[in-house]
């Protein structure tokens, strides 16, 4: 009877370990899928590395997966890629002084457009 209990405890522990292992992989897989859709292929910039079959994109996917398995965070992986390929490697470049024109120029152009439109429609006739 005692042997049976021990065996059941052993099975339960084994199951816990399996669940933990699978959960760990699922977490890495989720992070991996999230990153590869946010990273631009450097050989064919119109595709993400998730869609691209270019050799460099394949290697980038491989490298990202290895980094995540080594418990690196998403930000660390992105930082590593930006250091090598520049911020344009990310579909959503970081908000910084260098990228401020990229992020805010559409609003500036919109405001300027409104000013020109206002001038043409109302002020010019007066």
């Amino acid at each position: 009877m005692n042997y049976l209990k021990l065996f059941l405890v052993f099975l339960a522990l084994l199951r816990c370990e399996c669940i933990l292992a699978i959960d760990g992989n699922i977490e890495v897989e989720k992070q991996f899928n999230s990153i590869i859709n946010e990273v631009r292929c450097v050989t064919c910039p119109n595709q993400s590395i998730a869609d691209s079959s270019a050799p460099v994109a394949v290697s980038m996917r491989h490298d990202i997966y290895q980094s995540l398995q080594q418990n690196k965070t998403i930000d660390e992986v992105k930082g590593y890629l930006v250091e090598r390929y520049g911020s344009s490697v990310l579909y959503e470049p970081p908000h910084s002084l260098k990228t401020s024109i990229l992020w805010y120029s559409p609003f500036i152009v919109l405001i300027l457009g409104c000013c020109v439109w206002y001038y043409i429609c109302y002020l010019k006739d007066k």
Binding site: V42, T43, A54, P55, V56, V58, S59, M60, H62, D63, Q66, V82, E83, R84, Y85, G86, S87, S88, V89, K98, T99, I101, L102, S105, I108
Partner: protein, 177 residues
């Protein structure tokens, strides 16, 4: 009235010109970022498929060398191959060939047939060395200084003009200093 309107046109023209110049400056800065310059070559072991032995990349440090990424599936690489053969025939610059995402057997056959310009031919089957150096595609050439840092890179094929005007001066400057 006409004069006032002209002033406004000039004001808008100058404003847009300044905006363009600013955007161009930002573009230049961001294109310089992530250019692999100053990255160091990882201290890893690679398979030298021509000499059939393991090569520690750290062992290459001590004098400048060229790291050239190529593959037999890359038509441009095959086309520019003669330039590298001529370069190594006329100069004593060490060139290390990195066979990227390729079959080393095919690469070995190609080099035996067309001439081998490389002091070492290493296989980067998984492309991890390439990604660590910020490789964008093949062919791509990196000039590495004596302490293993990248000081110059050239994306695309290399012809005699690029060799003489861009790559050789970088190496000669390092050798003289």
């Amino acid at each position: 009235m006409n004069k006032a309107f002209n002033y406004k046109k000039i004001f808008f023209a100058v404003f847009f010109l300044l905006l363009t110049v600013m955007m161009w400056q930002v573009f230049l800065k961001t294109s310089q970022q992530g250019s692999s310059i100053n990255l160091s070559v990882p201290k890893v072991s690679m398979n030298d498929f021509m000499q059939e032995k393991t090569l520690e990349l750290q062992a290459l440090e001590g004098k400048p060398y060229i790291l050239h990424f190529w593959a037999t599936w890359c038509g441009v690489c095959l086309k520019e191959h003669n330039n590298w053969v001529n370069l190594t025939n006329n100069n004593s610059i060490p060139v290390v060939g990195v066979n990227f995402h390729d079959d080393p057997v095919q690469a070995r056959k190609f080099l035996l047939r067309k001439g081998n310009p490389y002091i070492h031919s290493i296989s980067d089957n998984e492309g991890l060395l390439g990604v660590r150096l910020g490789l964008k595609g093949t062919p791509e050439t990196f000039v590495v200084n004596d302490i293993g840092n990248i000081v110059y890179r050239h994306t695309g094929p290399v012809n005699e003009k690029i060799l003489e005007n861009n790559i050789l001066p970088v190496i000669n400057n390092m050798s003289n200093s």
